[in-house]
């Protein structure tokens, strides 16, 4: 079961994971990562923009790579775009597999590659207005693990 989505409204990861788990009968384990907008006293909101002709195809291509690389029964990749507030979920990746190692490694792999597979530009709203978030060098280090 493969479920790849871009959402423009807030979502409840628990409401996705229950049906996802049910849709993969025979699984041994499910690993799920949920990323949230970290509260920061100075940040009122976060906006994610994207280039639609690249984003969803990029997420599907990443799912293809994960299915090729790991023995998976199901993979869920859900990402928010638009304006988010602190504490809201921004990304949810869940992998169902017969074996634990495949489920955990697939989630780790997808999270490390999501930024290079689907491009998002982020800006933060502070008291003095919107500020673009610059690229970070850690991302390259995460990719070098694979």
């Amino acid at each position: 079961m493969r479920d790849i989505r871009l959402l423009t409204q807030t979502f409840f990861p628990g409401a996705l994971i229950g049906p996802f788990t049910q849709a993969n009968p025979g699984l041994g384990g499910v690993c799920t990562f949920v990323g949230e907008v970290r509260p920061d006293s100075e940040v009122e909101a976060l906006e994610l923009s994207h280039y639609e002709p690249l984003t969803l195809p990029g997420m599907h291509a990443l799912a293809d790579r994960a299915f090729d690389r790991f023995t998976l029964m199901g993979l869920l990749i859900v990402h928010r775009v638009g304006v988010l507030h602190p504490g809201e979920p921004i990304v949810c990746v869940s992998a169902a597999a017969r074996h634990r190692r495949d489920a955990i490694d697939a989630v780790d792999f997808c999270m490390d590659h999501l930024k290079s597979a689907a491009w998002f530009w982020k800006r933060e709203k502070r008291a003095d207005g919107w500020h673009w978030i610059e690229p970070r060098s850690d991302d390259t280090r995460d990719l070098a693990r694979w």
């Binding site: 923009s49 994207h50 280039y51 002709p53 690249l54 195809p57 930024k115 491009w119 998002f120 530009w121 982020k122 800006r123 673009w132 978030i133 610059e134 690229p135 970070r136 060098s137 850690d138 991302d139």
Partner: protein
Amino acid sequence: MVLLGKLADLAGTPTLTLAPPSSAPLDWDGVIAALPPALAAAAGDPRNRVAVNGALLADKADLQADAGDEIALLPPVSGG
């Protein structure tokens, strides 16, 4: 032309329409020449990527856009 991230802010708009090239298809130098100066400087950042009709170009020098093509200018994505 679609501008992403802070390039849209710089241009004051997420999309620009470039005058169609007089004869030959539009290349990367032609795009830069057609942009307002402040945006042209930012667009020249070598980390920016270019896509035509949703397909990323390996090299901006490969750009050959005809009238009606959608050129997207993609700055480096945000960390975090």
